[in-house]
């Protein structure tokens, strides 16, 4: 009986789980091993006798060195970071105020506004990038970080508003009412009582918004043109491939370095991120 149950656990639990883990993480391992592999080994025929695809005999940091010294990769990292942080802050600011208003205040058309913010949440960037490119050009924002800082909030604000609105509703109204009886204005109660309580919600929304803006691709691809203005995803795609030649070592080094900051932020705040993620679909 016990033996049979053990056998079942292996077949129905450990083996599938292991397959999931290997399948999920293998591309990252492959990224890493390619990044530290010397070129001579990288482009060896797959039928060669001395082919060792899963490890390397002569690990090297050359690809990283070239990437950091000979390309504008460090600038891209800084651009991505700057744009992600500023657009996240803008979105949090707007989302906090709007979320509070929708959760707590009574005013005409509140329902309609809530619904339309929800609908904009579902508008994908690929639907709007062509007219937006024209608008960015007309506003003289093309090829500046502001083109992205002002457009990223279009998909971050609806999410932040939605998440924070849900969070505010879990805070009892009585807290605010007490503060108001003690003489605080509505605005003051919001600022000093409600917002501090909502810090975990703000953190969730912030982490999620940061990873979303770090990952954004199509707006950055269309709105930016000069190499030193680009973000990591766009820079890697457009500048590390010269002509038709793929320098895979450097590309994978770039992919790895471009992923590490966001993976680090994520790893420190996993729980908040998961709250944000599950909150993002709480219709």
């Amino acid at each position: 009986m016990v033996l049979e149950r053990k056998w079942k656990t292996w077949v129905f639990f450990y083996i599938p789980l292991t397959v999931f883990i290997v399948g999920t993480l293998f591309p990252f391992y492959w990224m890493f091993i390619t990044a530290i592999r010397p070129d001579a080994e990288l482009y060896r025929s797959w039928r060669a006798a001395n082919n060792t695809p899963f490890w390397t005999l002569a690990p090297t940091l050359d690809h990283f060195r070239d990437l950091l010294a000979k390309t504008t990769f460090p600038t891209w990292l800084w651009n991505t970071f700057f744009i992600a942080v500023v657009s996240t802050l803008i979105s949090l600011f707007c989302g906090l105020l709007a979320g509070y208003a929708l959760a707590r205040l009574r005013f005409p058309m509140a329902g309609m506004l809530g619904t339309s913010i929800f609908v904009t949440y579902l508008v994908p960037p690929t639907l709007l990038f062509i007219p937006l490119a024209d608008i960015i050009r007309n506003f003289q924002l093309g090829n500046t970080p502001w083109a992205l800082i002002l457009t990223y909030p279009t998909f971050l604000i609806p999410f932040c508003t939605w998440l924070l609105m849900g969070y505010f509703k879990t805070i009892p109204k009585e807290l605010e009412e007490c503060a108001r009886i003690d003489g605080a204005t509505r605005f003051g109660a919001m600022l000093r009582i409600i917002f501090p309580i909502a810090v975990p919600g703000i953190l969730s929304a912030g982490i999620f918004a940061f990873t979303l803006s770090w990952n954004e691709f199509i707006y950055a691809l269309v709105f930016l043109s000069s190499p030193e203005k680009k973000t990591v995803p766009v820079g890697v795609v457009s500048e590390l491939i010269r002509g038709d030649i793929y320098f895979w070592g450097q590309l994978m080094a770039g992919a790895l370095l471009g992923s590490i900051p966001v993976a680090l932020v994520y790893s420190f705040f996993v729980e908040y991120y998961v709250t944000g993620l599950t909150g993002s679909v709480k219709g």
């Binding site: 797959w46 619904t115 691709f217 992919a255």
Partner: protein
């Protein structure tokens, strides 16, 4: 946050339903209402302004562009539905439309099936659970463009590690043309999309699973239900609301996907793997025909509209309940 996701869906209801009037004198009440309105306007102004300028205005402008022959450097004139008719008669557009549908359909099914399976696995207690759960989300965190490059390298025509594995395992004698054949290319993209999106399904469904009381399962197994029956008759009905919401989100993101194809195949070989978004980019941005590009991307709208409509209807129904 401990509320079940499905229950959270009711939050829209609270927005619509006005709270009960408080007992206050009429004149004080009016003043109170007035100030509340003013505050609401102030608080909502930044959001409405930003979304208006960068969502509503571009949307209107996109509709206008799609009805004109605007190209880069040429203001363009009204041409009616010419762009839409032209797109519909274009064989590459039809391929792109078909590809987008196939891509969305299968990727969503795979993500749902695998995500559900993974969620059920992760819902058990085992050592290192937190670490496993955290690392499972990595494909979703890491910029899609960068991880897709790793896949492209794994699918490389000459140095593919997957070909090497299949060859050494004795499954193939010649290389599989992963990305150099249109049909293979599309299925590779579906595989990568599944790899990337599956964690999102798994983690949100896991959150849903955790709200299901273990007592229900205990009762069902006392009644003699086996694992599969317990899943089908207890877990699945309770998980349906969350699943619907996650599927809707996923359909929208997959249907409008751009970056994965852009990096993996670039729409090639011979334009056989384009999606609507990549083809719109090729016509609208790379070729500079803004009008035609805008028309192509607007073809996404009916499908997105339908999906959003289903979602909103579903929310309304929950409100009514």
């Amino acid at each position: 946050m401990s509320k079940p996701i499905a229950g959270g869906a009711g939050s829209a209801a609270d927005v619509v339903a006005l709270p009960r009037a408080r007992s206050a004198s009429p004149s004080g009440m009016t003043r109170f209402l007035e100030s509340e309105r003013l505050l609401a306007v102030m608080l909502l102004a930044p959001t409405v302004l930003l979304l208006g300028v960068f969502i509503a205005y571009p949307f209107v402008m996109g509709v206008w562009l799609s009805l004109s022959n605007t190209s880069v450097g040429n203001p363009g004139q009204f041409v009616g539905l010419k762009n839409f008719v032209k797109a519909w008669n274009d064989s590459i557009f039809r391929t792109a439309f078909w590809n987008t549908s196939v891509y969305t359909f299968w990727a969503t099914i795979f993500k749902l099936a695998l995500g559900m399976w993974l969620a059920v696995l992760l819902n058990r207690h085992f050592r290192g659970k937190r670490l496993v759960r955290a690392s499972m989300l990595l494909p979703f965190i890491v910029p899609t463009v960068l991880s897709t490059f790793a896949w492209r390298w794994m699918f490389d025509p000459t140095f593919s590690v997957l070909n090497w594995l299949l060859y050494r395992g004795g499954f193939i004698v010649t290389k599989v043309p992963f990305l150099s054949d249109g049909l293979y290319g599309l299925w590779c993209a579906i595989a990568v999309n599944t790899w990337r999106g599956m964690p999102f399904f798994a983690i949100t469904l896991l959150a849903g699973l955790q709200t299901i009381s273990p007592d229900l399962h205990e009762a069902a197994s006392l009644d003699g239900a086996n694992g599969w029956k317990r899943f089908w008759h207890v877990t699945w009905p309770l998980l349906k609301p969350v699943t619907l919401v996650v599927v809707v989100f996923s359909i929208i993101q997959t249907f409008s996907d751009f970056q994965l194809i852009y990096v993996l195949t670039g729409g090639g070989p011979a334009n056989s793997t384009h999606l609507l978004a990549t083809y719109a980019y090729q016509i609208g941005v790379a070729t500079g025909l803004l009008g035609e590009g805008a028309a192509i991307s607007l073809f996404m709208l009916p499908v997105l509209f339908l999906v959003v409509w289903v979602q909103l209807r579903y929310l309304r129904r929950l409100e009514g309940a």
